[in-house]
Symmetry: D3
Subunit: 134 residues, 6 copies
């Protein structure tokens, strides 16, 4: 049985490598390499796979899951500049792939081992990402 809580966070980022020339950064990352940053409304679905607790009828209380996500993800990344404000991306390009990977590791560390974890992330309405740790 899989259960999901959906949340939002809004952040700025820039895609580039310090060890690349401006030309190479522009060639690979295009307008995402704007040195003054741009931003997105990220939508994150956190999916937990586990057994129904026969006592409560819940896999996990989604009120509790919501609190975990607010603490681990939303307070950390919402209204932040991922490159400048977030040590997780000090040496990691904040592509959506790396953002979902970082979120998965942060949430995995605070979830009971009995649960499997899968994330789905919208960077825009046309660019979507999914990661389950494998």
């Amino acid at each position: 049985m899989k259960v999901c809580r959906r949340v939002n966070f809004n952040a700025a980022h820039r895609l580039f490598r310090k060890d690349w020339s401006d030309d190479k950064n522009n060639a690979v990352f295009g307008k995402c390499n704007n040195p003054n940053y741009h931003g997105h409304n990220y939508v994150l679905e956190v999916w937990i796979d586990g057994e129904i607790d026969p006592e409560t009828g819940y896999v996990i209380d989604l009120k509790i899951l919501k609190e975990i996500i607010l603490t681990d993800i939303v307070e950390r990344f919402d209204h932040r500049n991922l490159n400048l404000d977030c040590p997780e991306f000090e040496n990691l390009i904040p592509t959506a792939e790396n953002i979902i990977l970082v979120c998965w590791n942060l949430l995995r560390a605070n979830l009971d081992e009995k649960f499997q974890l899968r994330l789905k992330l919208w960077e825009t309405e046309n660019n979507i990402f999914e990661y389950d740790g494998k």
Copy 2:
């Protein structure tokens, strides 16, 4: 090949256990334990996994699948109080997890064995559930 029909039903419910005190019900189920009930617009996706019939190009005629879902699910639960009107929840807390489980069993019983069945249920735009029988 997987094909899906999406439907809606609107129902009232209350989350509580008769064998628990009011305090314990409130501690676990919070405002979902309102003794006078509250309600939701449930959205259900019914996914069928099977082979394309080379004669029709269909896995299953979605007009037929729609009729099965209307009979098995929508007529049963739409504009109902899940706790009071539906014997399926007489001894089962109508959490979304249990609702999707009950729907899966109802649909499974009326589908050809050659099809696999997976359901996805939105209780709100932020609380989502998925079940495939395993």
Copy 3:
């Protein structure tokens, strides 16, 4: 300049008149007359029409508007039975038309007179309502 904050609340209700027979209630209100109630996820957009404050660039701080809506509307109606728990509907059928009217009056009383107020309410994805006090 018009600005809007969108919120959700989930409630149970029943459409009927005590002074009508069961037959008449069923003829007029159909399955919405279920004596055990049913429910909906209501989505409410609160639109404020006013001038931009040149100092802040805001018509109204949406964080403040959100708090007003949470206090006036969401805490009052979310996870409630509109017929049984809400004195606003003691002598008023909780149709979506009457719900949006009640919400409008509640919000109007707490908004500066310089603002015009318009509400939009989704009862389902197909049934939508709008009211601006006129």
Copy 4:
């Protein structure tokens, strides 16, 4: 790690078999058998499963994936009559199942073997399809 690009195309089609009588076509395909065609706004999600390139933080540059999809799918099917304009459906009924199958084969031929490919197709907001080549 899975990444997705979403696109749209709008097309006309008719579901029928030349080797069936009108009666049989109507019995099986109903109003989808209108000899003058009808149409849909198709929404296609193209999901790629692969490893993150540690140099770029991308699984695949979605700008490149977008170009592949525009060339292979959108330019081919957008504002077309699938039955009359598209040789892919000369001998294949353009059901959504067959459309997603054709799209999958077209995209698979132009994608690096290291990527797995899964498609999701909305024919209407209630009829959805998914195919991953298996």
Copy 5:
């Protein structure tokens, strides 16, 4: 008080003028001039402006409005070729502007004079139209 019912219909169409050359039709209507037609999922919102009936709490029973729309609009245009199957467009280019105009006239003729009527039509998720008879 404004109330709305939302419906869908799926149709094929072609934009062109018989009295223009192919070149002129292509210059003006582009790919919408495909002689073999293309199609769309049209979404129509029907908005009625009127007084709340104090007896029922309804402006108009949306179940009745739904039936009017199904008869006047959906049965007429759903799964049809607007150019070939619908006399309304025999001498009228089926642009979305003309479609919404035709729908407005059809619905206006069957609605009580006390109601004002406004329509909103999505031809795609990016092309939207609105008409209120003025």
Copy 6:
């Protein structure tokens, strides 16, 4: 008759006044005052009110309107830092109210006088804005 084209742009911004202390900026703008910026996916609907051209059935060719919006709005603001990259906001706080005002003035200057112009802007799925020049 009103017609609309919907577009997206993704940008970074910061809400603050240089002539205010940090404390006052934080008190008024909260987390939107992050000195390193944050960002949003902005969705803009551009509504044109005019007469149907009887020759084409169009109020305005939406392909042409799309080009105007791409040139005037999307190329100017997409993947930009509104505070640092856009002279329009050099002395104007980039609140959504001011963004929609700037967009309206930019589009108004390039539209035929016979058209009325109204804009609708989503900054997030819960914060929405509308402006028609009055």
